[in-house]
């Protein structure tokens, strides 16, 4: 079928590329826009490795066609770091608590966790587990991932409310 020009916002900047309607947002991000931070796992909505934010909400990019994202606002894992390329607080906490081993699930985990912290700045462990329940990890056993998100929440709260927490 005819290719189309697809225009959308990715990590705060307007991006544009050409794709057939059958191309998923995941393939469009990776192959057309060359943003390979978003990982391709199962390609049918089970593993969560391809999670991105779509208008601020975490979604599976393998279950959206790129053409459907026309005019929408996408955040990928590349959009979490600041402009200087420094790791975000959340990314730093993943590094510090060893919340990754092979790293395959990490981009999806980071996006799911960041989306949680956006809507809930003080999640308990159950809420953290629920937020990442759609993301499979075969290395860590999840414990350190939960720890990393908890630590990130604490640090972000310290930053916004100095003195609130010891």
């Amino acid at each position: 079928m005819a290719e189309r020009n697809i225009r959308l916002r990715v990590n705060g900047a307007t991006s544009e590329g050409i794709a057939e309607p059958r191309v998923t947002l995941l393939d469009f991000l990776r192959d057309t826009l060359r943003l390979t931070g978003t990982h391709m796992g199962c390609e049918h909505g089970i593993c969560g490795a391809c999670t991105v934010m779509f208008d601020g909400a975490p979604v599976r990019s393998c279950l959206i066609f790129a053409v459907q994202a026309e005019g929408h606002d996408i955040t990928t894992v590349e959009g979490l770091a600041d402009e200087a390329g420094e790791l975000s607080v959340l990314q730093d906490c993943f590094w510090e608590t060893h919340a990754l081993q092979c790293g395959y699930c990490t981009p999806g985990m980071l996006i799911a966790a960041q989306a949680l912290l956006h809507r809930n700045n003080d999640p308990d462990d159950d809420e953290i587990r629920d937020a990442i329940s759609g993301n499979l990890c075969r290395c860590t056993g999840y414990g350190q991932i939960v720890e990393a998100i908890r630590l990130a929440a604490d640090r972000l709260n310290q930053r916004t409310n100095p003195g609130d927490r010891p």
């Binding site: 189309r4 057939e20 059958r22 998923t24 390609e43 909505g45 969560g48 599976r60 329940s133 759609g134």
Partner: protein, 296 residues
């Protein structure tokens, strides 16, 4: 794992959408796409044209009406979950929605899409069967309404015509005097997975805790979710305690015919059904449930 080629259109309003459907052969509607896109990736479905309804604003409203809550078919499951109207006036759906997939799928998946997909283990389908929701089906030359039981035609099958679109689902409200309580329980291998067995209950209780109206249903023990009239009849007129809940739930055994598969044996499903129905009834009866003693 790549979908076959298709053409794509994203109409802006309902008349445009319905025109598109009536003028096409082999068109398929995409709402959230959380079931359709995997089926396309596996090439179980190969539509010639994908009609995307995500820009049709009229399909995304949640409206409180006198006797029902009307939900636009393309309302996101996450929006329904966050809706104060649904929390207050459609508590059974509010209770069931957190069981539907994960955050990432509820942010795309829609209430109507789940019904149109008609997966027998889907929580939203179970709630529609329990409350006997009324569905609005539109086509270019008019619309009709269908009861949930008439709309569902078996696993993954509905009576929706090729040129029709499910536009709204009306979940009845129970507005009689009394307190409405709800319960929803399921067993699944992990949070967010498909239910092995699920049960839903909604009860209307008077000031004395006597049940005046009951709706109880179970999923995955018959080909499609089943309302359990014998269980409901045993509850109406009774004060709900642990014994009445257990005795009523046991009546489901004669109504169900569960399958055996790699997730559970038929006997295992029977046990789960009885237990989950009992728990759903007790939740619906509320924390003030009388008794608490066990048999013996």
């Amino acid at each position: 794992m790549k979908a076959a080629a298709f053409d794509y259109t994203r109409p802006r309003d309902l008349p445009g959408l319905l025109r598109q459907l009536s003028g096409s052969t082999d068109a398929k509607i995409i709402a959230g796409g959380q079931s359709l896109v995997p089926m396309m990736a596996m090439r179980l479905v190969r539509p010639a044209l994908l009609v995307d309804i995500n820009d049709v604003q009229d399909l995304q409203n949640i409206t409180l009406e006198d006797d029902c809550v009307a939900i636009g078919a393309c309302t996101r499951q996450a929006d329904a979950e966050a809706s104060e109207v649904i929390r207050q006036h459609l508590p059974l759906l509010a209770k069931a929605l957190p069981f539907v997939g994960h955050d990432q799928t509820r942010n795309r998946g829609t209430v109507g899409g789940s019904l149109a997909h008609a997966d027998p283990s889907a929580e939203i389908v179970l709630v529609a069967v329990t409350l006997q929701a009324e569905l609005t089906l539109a086509r270019a030359d008019g619309e009709r309404s269908a009861a949930t039981d008439d709309f569902l035609d078996g696993p993954m099958t509905t009576t929706l015509e090729e040129d029709e679109c499910l536009t709204a689902i009306r979940f009845p409200r129970w507005t009689e005097a009394g307190r409405v309580g709800v319960g929803f329980h399921e067993v699944s291998p992990r949070a967010g997975d498909f239910a092995v067995v699920a049960a839903a209950a909604q009860l209307l209780l008077d000031d004395d805790g006597v049940c005046r109206r009951a709706a109880v249903a179970v999923a995955n023990t018959t080909p499609m979710p089943l309302r359990l009239a014998a269980v409901e009849n045993a509850l109406v007129g009774a004060a709900i305690d642990q014994n009445t809940a257990r005795d009523a739930a046991a009546l489901a055994g004669a109504l169900i015919d569960p399958p055996s598969d790699l997730h559970a044996s038929a006997a295992g499903r029977r046990h789960m059904a009885r237990t989950l129905i009992e728990r759903a009834i007790l939740d619906a009866a509320g924390p003030a449930v009388a008794g608490g003693q066990t048999h013996g």
